[in-house]
């Protein structure tokens, strides 16, 4: 139409000279905004950043909380790496975290897939399986401690048909960690199931319909549609469960007390014990700092590995 013409005759407007004086622009409410964030900023400075800095400082000292802290340089860290009990705790923590994730994530995903359809009593199943997630951990540990009673414990309901009885779950160093893992899976699986279910329901059904029309079977659907689209959720759940598992304390404190023979003495438990049982604040802090560093690296790697395409 007339476009080329009007373009040819377009206006050349000289740009206005920049004025020297510029007033400050208002209406962004920087004052109010700062008032709103101030309490949180203050809080995080006092109760998070300062303690983190302090933790690092304390980790270079020897301190029993009574006499003043004594600067010892890297000694805590050096000792750490030849400390068998620290290495044991590190291994126990890794063992617990890895096995727990290997157990609970596939189980949670499987249950979520079972529930991701219109079936009767769907809400009821979901409510029951999720329920342990809201229960107080210490009370849960109490229940399971009784469930694991060698004679008369509920575990017999599952083992007796196989002729197994009298298991010393919490006193046998090969059974204690499996015992803790069972409780953890029991408590967590519904939690992660609900997150996965939210992810599954976010996948538009039109994708499945289109793929089915292309002749894809159930496994192909899962492999090529569900799994890739669920990837961000899997990443999220993996990160969250690593953080949660590696920081678990209550369960160990109230179910096994770290025993028997340190078989379930995870790092948080050990740090607690070294700090408040033996009053060795410096050494405990050094352990915490090392653990923090490892976790940071791990999380960074996870984001790298699991997030390249998207």
């Amino acid at each position: 139409m007339t476009e080329p013409m009007s373009g040819a005759a377009s206006l050349q407007r000289p740009s206005l000279p920049m004025k020297g004086r510029r007033k400050k622009q208002t209406y962004h409410y920087p004052g109010t905004a700062w008032l709103m964030v101030a309490p949180a900023v203050l809080f995080f400075c006092v109760f998070v950043f300062y303690p983190v800095a302090n933790a690092i400082y304390v980790s270079f000292t020897s301190w029993d909380l009574v006499s003043p802290p004594k600067f010892v340089g890297l000694r805590n860290y050096i000792r750490l790496f030849s400390d068998k009990s620290f290495l044991n705790s590190a291994l126990v923590t890794i063992y617990y975290t890895l096995i727990l994730i290997a157990l609970e994530l596939p189980l949670a995903l499987g249950l979520a897939i079972l529930l991701d359809r219109k079936i009767k009593a769907r809400g009821l199943y979901q409510a029951i399986i999720f329920a342990p997630a809201v229960l107080t951990m210490v009370a849960v540990a109490m229940i399971w401690r009784v469930v694991y009673t060698p004679v008369g414990g509920l575990y017999l309901m599952f083992t007796e048909p196989f002729g197994i009885a009298g298991l010393q779950w919490l006193n046998d160093k090969d059974l204690a960690m499996p015992a803790v893992l069972i409780v953890s899976v029991w408590k967590n699986v519904g939690y992660y199931m609900v997150i996965f279910l939210a992810g599954l329901q976010a996948i538009p059904t039109s994708y499945y319909e289109a793929a089915r029309m292309d002749g894809a079977g159930s496994w192909k659907l899962f492999r090529h549609i569900t799994l890739p689209l669920l990837k961000p959720f899997i990443l999220f759940v993996t990160v969250v469960s690593i953080i949660r598992a590696s920081q678990a304390f209550s369960l160990f404190y109230s179910l096994t007390n770290g025993g028997p023979a340190s078989a379930t003495k995870v790092l948080p438990y050990m740090i607690y014990e070294v700090a408040f049982g033996f009053n060795r604040m410096g050494y405990a802090s050094a352990m915490a700092v090392v653990m923090f560093g490892v976790l940071l690296v791990l999380t960074a790697i996870q984001f790298r590995v699991l997030r390249p395409q998207s």
């Binding site: 399986i129 509920l154 309901m157 920081q247 740090i271």
Partner: protein, 298 residues
Amino acid sequence: MTITASENQATAVRRNAKSRRRKLKPDPQGILIHALLIFASAIIVSPLLWMVVTTMKEQQDIFTKPLWYIPPQPRLFENIQHVFNKIDFIRYFLNSLIVSTSITVLDLFFSSMCGFALAKYRFPGRDIVFGSIIATMMIPFIVILVPQYILVRDLGWLDSYAGLIIPAAISSFGIFMMRQAFLGTPDELLEAARIDGASEWRILFQIVLPMHVPSLISLAILRFLGEWDSLLWPLVVTNGENMRTMSLGLALLQDDRYGTDIPMLMTAATLALFPIVVVYAFLQRYFIKSVAGSGLKQ
């Protein structure tokens, strides 16, 4: 027109026949799914049921009677008395309630405020504030346990509500969650309110917050449950009976080395879990939604 109508009818009839057949003879896949889900539910429920059954037993019933034995004269009442004789259950419960509720209320208030400013204003330092608050989510609590204890000790808050509540009063998680929620609020809404004469604070509390009640409920549920569950911090900052929380009280109760009274323990656990289960039974939709929403939103 007539043709499509009769066609529709035909498919409807066929569909009816199909669904009737399905009703009569459920497909094997459906049976399998229900079987798996019932099995999973049974595993979840059986320890809890057994706990309740155990509250009615005597100590020796555990070792001599079948697992699911219910005595003809249930000893629930005696067992409850044992619990109350042994620990100040009500006090622990109230302490937990006070601490968890205070933390939840404080966090809702300050997180909303901070999240709102981060989502809706441009101000110098905003990105640094947001970035560093988010970064704190990466810090495991165990790292700051010792210095935080020292800090609380130096503030003179050991063994007090302040010591239990204040160090947990604001969560980076809460700020993040509320900020995400507020980001979706159209700016025009705030501007309309501004023109109507509302101050920025009034805009937050009277316009924006009421629009985000579901997010507030989610945050409240997650925060309350988390604090109700916490053990490590109360273990470290309290030392007397007075400030003991539910979790701590239970943990110390079972530390009793002089032969555990199993029915008494199970009764204590039942008492501790009962309020939660009741609340959960009524609000489970909200509980599940909170967790489902805590995942990813795009």
